[in-house]
Amino acid sequence: MSKHYDAIIVGGGVTGAIMAKMLSEGGKNVLILEAGIKGAMKPKNYRKYLNKLYTEGGIRGMPNGPYPWNASAPSPAIPTAPNPKSEQDPYFVFRTEKHFMSDYLRMLGGTTLHWQGTSLRMVANDFKMQTVYGRGRDWPLSYEDLEPAYRRAEFELGVSADVEDQRFFGWFPEGYVYPMHKLPQSRVDKFFLDTIQDKTVELEGNTYPLKVISIPVARNSTPNPKYGIYSGYDPIPSVGNRDHGLRCQGNSSCMPLCPVQAKYSALKTLNGLTEKGKVKIKTQSVVSRLIINNETGKITAVEYKHYKDPDSPENHKLKQAGGTIIILAANAIENATLLLASGAANSSQQVGRNLMDHPYLYTWGYAPKRVFPFRGPDTTSGMESLRDGEFRKVHASFRASLSNWGWSGEPKNQLSKLIENKIYGKQLRHTLGDRMTRMVKIGFMFEQLPSYENRVTIDDNYKDKMGNYRPVLSYGYDDYTKGGIEAAVTKVWKKISEYAKIEDETQYPYPAPGGYQRMNYNGMDYNIMGSGHIVGTHRMGRYSKDSVTDRNMKAWDHDNLYVVGPGNQVTIGTANPTLTTAALAVRASEAILKELE
């Protein structure tokens, strides 16, 4: 065994990056073991992936599409819209008819390489669902407990927002502002602000506003001089090119790849660390097992497989690394798989259970006038007023993300239809232009309750080419979520399209197109996709009997093991989970620093 570290972090994504930063700033020696390749950290590679986006015509295999397939550390692909290599060589194994529809990326920087950047805080009632609505479970933390960590997370990610808009649900300290001003709202947003802002909808006997507000995003905007004690915030440029990415320039490709890196990715945090040489990062190192001392229950070392060539998983060296504290900082599914493979942290039998995502549903139509979509970041505003309310006793809450990208991917369908009708020339140009400039689309994102049956397991029959366990998934939606989906389409979208005079073009074709799956509820069919918001597989709790970690994310069963990430979330609420993940990483780092004192 080589050098002993104060902390070993498994996973070089957003959790690992923030924890490495905070621990090293506290004077600790840190080793990050990343299963994937260094990849996008090298600017030359990053340009290569951008070129692949072009030469593959945009969005094939979204969102993992432009990033290289790695046989040694495979990433999942959305089951019906995978990229060709993962089609031949799938990673997830499904036990249920319904598939888990989200992916993640195993590469240094993790899934923040292709996330949307939306950085909403969870609402206070998300933390106490059982107490307030008799649904789901309570967290061992309150919103107020996590609030300081949220502020630090907003600094680490570099969030742009208008705090006044965010006060709608959340409490913020007096005088707090976000690091940067909100991104300018789009023409599409202004259309909805003009048409539905003061309108209402009735859900389960109560009236709610259809309130459109700007959303916080981890995307560089104009720094707010009021931020912080000194003089504002310095936007972090692109990794490897300090002239790029200081402002979002509207490339309209946040997913799968921001060409200038104006959007945060964990690479930005990691780059800062490697520049200063405080943290050791070993890529192409797949952790396959935690080695447990049976007497003390401590993790004595992690065992990992180091490979040279991603295409030759068989050729790897088995190595070990030892540390005082071991931190699992991978994706919720990978963390759970590794714990199960190691027989670790599972006295509660909760490891891998309570897998949640945000089922995602689109509604779309033509606005009565031009709103000029297909420009700017994916989304700059949302209809956020239904993220909380009494109706949560009955059905799921949801938020509605207003798309700035029209019916994305749509030019091809429109073109084909027009050309089939033998329309060409100026008529084609103007008809296409007229249709595309009036396209509006809303993405509804639904809460899902924790359930024992939605889970990750492992099975000796299913291993990847390196011999590591592949995640075996069981997944579905319950009536609580389905009720929310029904309310969103039949009540909320109906009202919105009425008030905004939208020609409703929404239809859910059968069979569901690639990336979607069919759902039936109360005689209506819907096509649902995943959001990539993978949470819940190693939840925190008050008691060791029904949770995997305590409120500081230390495993109940092992004195020196922290399991950190979106897997700690007890409920999913309606916030895109990365900001909460970052806040949890901040909280865990503080706890570890205290412990190591």
Binding site: G58, P184, R187, Q249, G250, S253, R370, P373, T380, N404
Partner: protein
């Protein structure tokens, strides 16, 4: 510039509704001409150019439009090629001609390397220069960004310049 190139450019302009200046500005005319010629063969290419030249020889717009409809749009040999040319310019992708087209409408043997109905993106520039987004006053995702905050205003180029 040889005559066929001139004809290909003008046909592209007629099919897309964009001026020859717009199309030349993409830098893609030569590569697209070659792609199409390679795909349909010399024999059919000559037929396409001769027919197009005859259509364009009419003096009035009305007559040109009429003969365009009769001789090209209604032709089962030429219209599938034109559809491909429109998709190439507007969407940056080319779908190979079908075997049915080769056998019955072109009456030429398909090239030995052909995969029928296969769609390719001929180059990165084909993606970044596609016209479909331009027609909407926008830009292809990931290329030609419109600048910080521009999405909050009406487009300042393309077909939608307003004086309001």
């Amino acid at each position: 510039m040889d005559e066929n190139h001139h004809i290909f450019l003008n046909l592209s302009s007629e099919l897309t509704g964009y001026s020859v200046i717009d199309l030349e500005g993409t830098g893609l005319v030569y590569s697209y001409q070659k792609l199409v010629e390679d795909e349909i063969g010399k024999h059919v290419a000559t037929f396409l150019y001769d027919t197009t030249k005859a259509v364009f020889s009419h003096n009035t717009t009305k007559a040109r439009d009429r003969f365009m409809r009769v001789d090209i749009v209604a032709s089962p040999t030429l219209w599938p090629i034109c559809k491909g040319i429109i998709m190439l310019w507007y969407y940056g992708q080319w779908t190979s001609m079908s075997l049915v087209w080769y056998r019955y409408y072109a009456r030429v043997p398909p090239s030995p390397n052909l995969t029928p109905d296969k769609t390719v993106v001929p180059s990165a520039a084909a993606y970044t220069q596609q016209l479909s987004y331009k027609a909407a006053g926008a830009h292809p995702p990931g290329a030609h960004p419109t600048g910080f905050g521009s999405w909050g205003l009406d487009p300042v180029f393309g077909d939608f310049i307003t004086t309001k």
